[in-house]
Symmetry: C2
């Protein structure tokens, strides 16, 4: 390993090398992402229609297709410094184990208590809520990563945080719930009797264990019915991808520092927040014709919105109360079969990434759950870090690409996003160890059935 | 916060600034720690009596009171680079919250999958086992941090790892068990039918949920009865403190880089591995008369070996099969009341630290469990990191000292060790949130009773 002397195991930026503005890839897109539509009128949503639900500055960011650079407020940069820069790690041990000529790097976002990249946008959204003089924010959480990140962010700014947690997760993941309580959030199992929509669902389905769609509906109602509250969301939206661009900007700065030019950049994709952030500045160079990269989205075979979905306007939530977004989707009525990567079970995909994919600027592939956990365990044993199941999708694809390099002898440089740690996912690992993990893959008929229910646009 | 421009939030060393040798504080001690004794003969143990149980090079390190510097083998340094250097963090947010003129720093050892500093010695012990050509190692684990660290280390070197896990933890902490399995370790609930001692205990106490003492006995038997195995231990021993000196050496290098001279250094103390490592180079300067520091051990009020124990020869294990060590002890028959800092429930204290404490070179204090969790929650909310209950003992004392500075107006520099994260301790946090946590403090009579059973030395 003589090359260890040249490139360190971990590249950390100095504080003065950290990004001071986010990068808005929409500014460089020739084909802009399609606008959000009012579900009643099918007309593009105006800012004033969104501000009763979302914070004003966040609405402005959501609608801004023009400005390439948006300054990161000092207060957010102060918080970023508590856990950022995250390391860009050279996977020397993995390279050696695979006996590949490829050079593998990963950007590790798991070294904070929320355990994932979600904190990058949570702190930004909490900041704008505080700046607007709000009392607090509401949100939903499934597996709990987003809820944890938001709890931490609200605690920092002294905001109240109401989290609606899907009841089955609330009961099965008490540890995640306790982390949120440690940060002072109130965590309510959804459906609950604290909202109209919750009470209606409980009346109709007394024994229900809840769903993300229902939790979103409750969180939105709680935001609009409580004075001084707004609703916040951890993925899919343009504003979230904007905040997450800090991942890609740091990655690029770290690579540039050592004169490294990646050949491909790989990220897992659920709603698109991590992938969109990681690839942002590289996609920018590609859009401006300054450089070329292979940019690869990896999704679970059980919820393959890019690879088997269609590009159309759809509801963002299963409750059909949110705006319509044009995206690659399996249909908002699609219910993905059980998969242990809870963060990748969304029926649709970020409108920004959807447009880029449709324009052929982004590749996508799907991987099977058992292959993902095999890659996760390999990675944990070799590189030491126990990955979240979501992140392991990217690991799986990166290992595949490194193996291809071994066959061809090509010394490609592979960068992937390691979005988080798997400490709260040990039930999934246990199933894998005990050979009780199955691969659910939807049939063409199942996908066709939910796509048939897409909203009619004309 | 104008001082943020001078000292960064996190000080990281460059790879070429990382320690290349461990520091053996015993070399600079005028009064050496008392030798381990053979429990039968009461004579100092010779190397050849220890090598059937421990690896040869580790025995040499255990008995070495002379060499101040012991080189860290390149293979261990390569592994260290995967998760080290750990950051030295300036707690700007905590300082601001406390409105203290004190400057607070913490050395954070939780950014690795084992979640604690234990990995520093685990990888060293696994390396020497591998070098000796062994097949594998055995150990016991209570809460599971040490077992996890050893599993990771053995996985890296391709060694077999047999962990005897106290049965009650095995059943109540399935996630820790799964992390160990992810790294390929075999985890056996103790007492088990795989050893003579285990079978004897099961026969006598059919429903027992096990104890650390019993797990130690099983692990030692498994090491001596299986060809090609040795036993390894994660605390108390001199060799462990030697490996952990990497914490203190990095801390000192980071402080020196910015010309910072600490006034006091604070660490939690169970068996002493973290504290001994953190303070090592500072204690060295103190012993050599080059500098002076306040060095403070913090222990739980429920298991106060320094503050209420006695300095005497005692058994290291409750099963009384291990060597006799001279240490501050509550007596090997002392059973600490329930406390959620599993890593601080040991009846004795490292012989090295015991001698230093007896010589007045080290201070000690005890803190109550509820105060510890209050400090933990405060810290989590302000600094973002969810601490392990063990680590929170040091936080508790550091906050107390910072508050004193507020009263006196003194600008002292406080450094404390944040040994790990609390992701697997959420049951304890839940009890705290639900006001179901109690403070158990042993009576004088209870301590006197167990001290009366100390081995007779003459």
């Amino acid at each position: 390993m003589s090359n260890t002397t040249k490139i360190p195991y971990k590249i950390y930026l100095e504080e003065n090398e950290m990004p001071t503005s986010w990068y808005n890839v929409r500014a460089d897109m020739k084909n802009k992402p399609a606008p959000l539509l009012n579900p009643a009128t099918k007309e593009p949503l105006k800012a004033e229609e969104l501000t009763p639900i979302f914070c004003e500055e966040l609405v402005a960011q959501e609608l801004d297709n023009e400005h390439a650079r948006i300054e990161i407020p000092q207060e957010i940069r102060d918080f970023y410094r508590m856990y950022r820069p995250s390391p860009l790690v050279r996977a020397y041990c993995l390279e050696e184990k695979l006996q590949t000529p490829a050079k593998i790097y990963y950007k590790f976002e798991g070294n904070n208590t929320s355990g994932s990249h979600k904190l990058n946008s949570a702190i930004a959204q909490a900041y704008y809520a505080k700046k607007q003089g709000l009392k607090g924010v509401t949100t939903e959480t499934g597996a709990g990563q987003w809820g944890t990140a938001l709890s931490m962010a609200c605690s920092y700014f002294g905001l109240d945080c109401k989290v609606y947690m899907v009841k089955v997760s609330y009961e099965q993941k008490p540890f995640r719930r306790e982390v949120m309580r440690t940060y002072g959030a109130s965590v309510t199992p959804s459906p609950s009797d604290t909202t109209q929509v919750g009470r209606a669902i409980l009346k109709e389905h007394p024994g229900t264990t809840g769903s993300l769609g229902c939790a979103i509906s409750e969180a939105v109602e709680a935001a609009t019915q409580n004075e001084g509250y707004r609703y916040v969301l951890g993925s899919v939206l343009n504003l979230v991808l904007l905040h997450q661009s800090v991942i890609g900007l740091e990655t690029k700065a770290a690579l540039d520092k050592y004169g490294i030019k990646p050949d491909m950049i790989i990220g897992c994709a659920g709603g698109g927040s991590n992938l969109g952030g990681l690839i942002a500045p590289f996609m920018g160079e590609k859009l401006r014709g300054e450089a070329d990269y292979r940019l690869i989205a990896v999704e679970p075979a059980s919820c393959p919105s890019f690879t088997r979905g269609t590009y159309a306007y759809d509801f963002c939530d299963t409750g059909m109360i949110c705006p319509l977004a044009k995206m690659y989707t399996l249909g908002s009525s699609f219910i993905p079969a059980p998969n242990h990567a809870g963060g990748l079970r969304y029926h649709g995909m970020s409108p920004v990434l959807s447009q880029l994919y449709d324009d052929g600027l982004l590749e996508a592939r799907s991987v099977r759950q058992t292959d993902v956990f095999e890659a996760a365990e390999t990675f944990a044993r070799i590189e030491g870090i126990l990955p979240a199941p979501e992140s392991a999708h990217a690991i799986c694809a990166a290992i595949d690409e490194a193996k291809k390099c071994k066959e061809t002898g090509e010394e490609k440089t592979i960068v992937f996003g390691l979005t988080g740690t798997g400490y709260f996912d040990m039930v999934a690992y246990e199933k894998f160890h005990d050979h009780q993990m199955e691969n659910y893959i939807p049939t063409d008929a199942e996908i066709a059935e939910s796509l048939a229910k897409l909203p009619k646009m004309e």
